[in-house]
């Protein structure tokens, strides 16, 4: 009949629950459907609370009126909301707005495409220029390398010629004695000082 609240048994619930007792309800916990009625409840007849007819009539009228008004208001509001929604989607303004938006979109897309084309052209030009630059640089580098190689070869050739000249002055078995005599006859002295022009100003004397 009534609902169980929490606790294990009816008595415990009644003890734990507050005195204002909205939560506490009676519970068919101990007895089942088939148990006989208690002795103290044998002749009990359940009687509903007494009702004053006049009062009931008045109350009923007032309640119907009240409910009518409230229902009407509620439905009015609902209808308003629906109407607004409907107008939003398929009203006279909606078409105009949709058209305008479509126009705008088209215009923007067109502008975007223009921009893309412009940038594409600029990019192509730029890339071309860079490619040309790179080509030129490569060619220049190649020429530079060539030149350097040539220089190198020339330098080496000059060195070889110089050495070939100097070989004539080298010491061999034949001129060994002669060179020794020459060296012993001409002592060299490297102890000199030079000024900024490269002239010798001082020289130590060889003892």
């Amino acid at each position: 009949m009534f609902q169980v609240i929490g606790g294990r048994s009816v008595q415990a619930v009644r003890l734990l629950a507050p005195r204002s007792a909205v939560l506490v309800e009676a519970v068919r916990g101990r007895k089942s459907r088939t148990d006989p009625v208690a002795k103290s409840k044998e002749g009990r007849i359940k009687v509903p609370p007494p009702v004053d007819p006049v009062e009931m009539v008045v109350l009923k009228e007032r309640y119907t009126e009240y409910k009518l008004i409230m229902r009407a208001l509620r439905l009015e509001f609902k209808e308003e909301v629906l109407r607004k929604k409907y107008e939003e989607e398929t009203g006279s303004q909606a078409e105009e707005r949709a058209r305008q938006e479509a126009e705008e979109h088209r215009a923007l897309m067109a502008w975007n495409n223009e921009e893309n084309l412009r940038m594409l052209k600029a990019r192509i030009l730029r890339v071309q220029k860079e490619a040309e630059e790179a080509e030129r640089k490569k060619i220049e580098a190649a020429i530079q390398r060539e030149q350097e190689q040539q220089e190198f070869i020339k330098e080496k050739e000059r060195e070889i010629l110089r050495l070939q000249e100097e070989v004539k002055n080298f010491i061999t078995m034949e001129n060994l004695d002669q060179r020794i005599e020459e060296a012993l006859d001409n002592p060299k002295n490297y102890n000199f000082a030079v000024d900024k022009e490269g002239r010798v100003i001082k020289q130590t004397v060889l003892q």
Partner: protein, 116 residues
């Protein structure tokens, strides 16, 4: 081949003996495959300090400069040989750079280019 310079300090000797030492040094060099370029005499002079070699104290010596082209592998053997030579007071082998050669020849004095 790299270019080396042998700064040789010889004992104070008479001229024929010095010539003999020089001759045998250059011959050793050439035997070991060096190409002797030039032989210079820096004179007989007082040594900067007294040097002892082969149980002899030297205060005067003759300086010679031999530049030659040689393989690096023969230098160790050459120096060993020179250390054992009784008449040699101090052998020193130095490498010659392309730049340092400007100082050994006096040709730079004929150049007009400034030093600095």
């Amino acid at each position: 081949m790299p270019r080396y310079e042998l700064a040789l300090i010889l004992k104070q000797m008479q001229r024929p003996e010095t010539a003999a030492v020089l001759r045998r040094t250059v011959e050793t060099l050439m035997e070991r495959g060096a190409l002797v370029r030039d032989l210079e005499n820096l004179g007989e002079r007082q040594l900067p300090y007294r040097m002892t070699k082969h149980n002899q104290r030297h205060s005067r010596g003759t300086y010679f400069l031999v530049d030659f082209y040689a393989a690096p592998s023969m230098l160790a053997g050459l120096l060993d040989h020179l250390h054992r030579d009784v008449d040699v007071v101090r052998p020193t082998v130095l490498k010659k750079d392309a730049q340092s050669s400007i100082w050994t020849s006096l040709s730079f004095l004929e150049d007009v280019s400034p030093l600095i």
